[in-house]
């Protein structure tokens, strides 16, 4: 061995097969506890099922729901949000298109907010939706999926209370 060269062998062995000491077990328990807190309450892993957010989020994709996003702020237009149903195991992934007080309308597939045409870069598939104007209630946001190529009756969209928003996808 040359002077100054470090032998990795004993370190690697120690890393892969550490001595099971009290301190080591405590460290493992702490790590498991922190991982549980992180993946249960902060970044919840989820799998995307369905085509309502295509092409932004594809069916079968994997992501994390970041739950602390709206602790100090409110959802904004164009945010993609996870909306809870009875619990948090199954959620809806939708995009916020309007906030409280806004008047939402679809004319031949184009979104109009307060009678002004909105250019939505995330909508890539052709749409022919028509929806008469309606005002978003207080404490609610209006959410729609990015895939508007499906018939309007089939697509789940509309206004929902802000409290139902669980978080946002991490990417």
């Amino acid at each position: 061995m040359f002077r100054g060269q470090i032998s990795l062998k004993p370190n690697l062995k120690h890393f892969l097969f550490p001595k099971i000491t009290k301190r080591y077990l405590l460290r493992i328990c702490l790590l498991a506890f922190l991982a549980f807190i992180f993946f249960r309450f902060i970044c919840v892993p989820f799998r995307i099922k369905g085509h309502s957010m295509e092409p932004t989020y594809k069916h079968g994709g994997f992501n994390f729901c970041f739950r602390l996003r709206y602790i100090f702020s409110e959802p904004e237009k164009h945010d993609v949000v996870a909306i809870r149903l009875a619990g948090e195991r199954v959620v809806l992934l939708k995009r916020v298109v309007a906030l409280e007080g806004d008047v939402v309308e679809f004319r031949n597939g184009t979104l109009f907010l307060n009678e002004e045409e909105t250019h939505e870069t995330y909508v890539r598939l052709p749409s022919s939706w028509n929806l008469p104007p309606r005002e978003v209630d207080k404490g609610h946001v209006y959410v729609v999926g990015d895939n508007r190529s499906v018939p309007i009756d089939v697509h789940q969209f509309g206004q929902t209370p802000i409290e139902r928003i669980m978080g946002v996808p991490l990417w």
Binding site: G87, R89, Q156, G158
Partner: protein, 166 residues
Amino acid sequence: MVKTKHIIIAGVFLAGGIIAFFVFFQSEEAKVKKQFERVAKQIEKSSEESIVVSATKANRIGEAFTEICTVHAPAYSFSRDIPSDEVSTLILSMRSQYSEISVKLYDFVIDFPEKGIAQAGLTASMEGKLTTGESTADLHELNCRLRKIEDIWRIEEVEIVQVLKK
């Protein structure tokens, strides 16, 4: 040695007792959950299912409901009292449009506001293939009230919660 043997025997008895407790003394919450799972199983359909099996399943579904069941679906402006035999007919006709149906239930929240009454919230996901070959997927939050009749939890009221209001 004798001591170890005694400890093992005591352990076996304890484990047996715990298993027996969970098998024979099901909590009311577990019974309610089981009733929903039973209904979900009866709604499910495989591509090879015969007409006889379909009819039997539809009849069994009817048994899970009270004589009159109230259904509210504000999103479809629907609210009606439906007799249990009509529930069977409705489900049979709905199932006949599908070649395959799969139902999954999640996130149960069960409460007992008074004796013999249970209030259950859950998320129901139904995926299916229509006889025309088209695939469908539905996801709903349900609020249900159940009444215990002759020791069986029967569904008395179903509300399809409008999570997104168009």
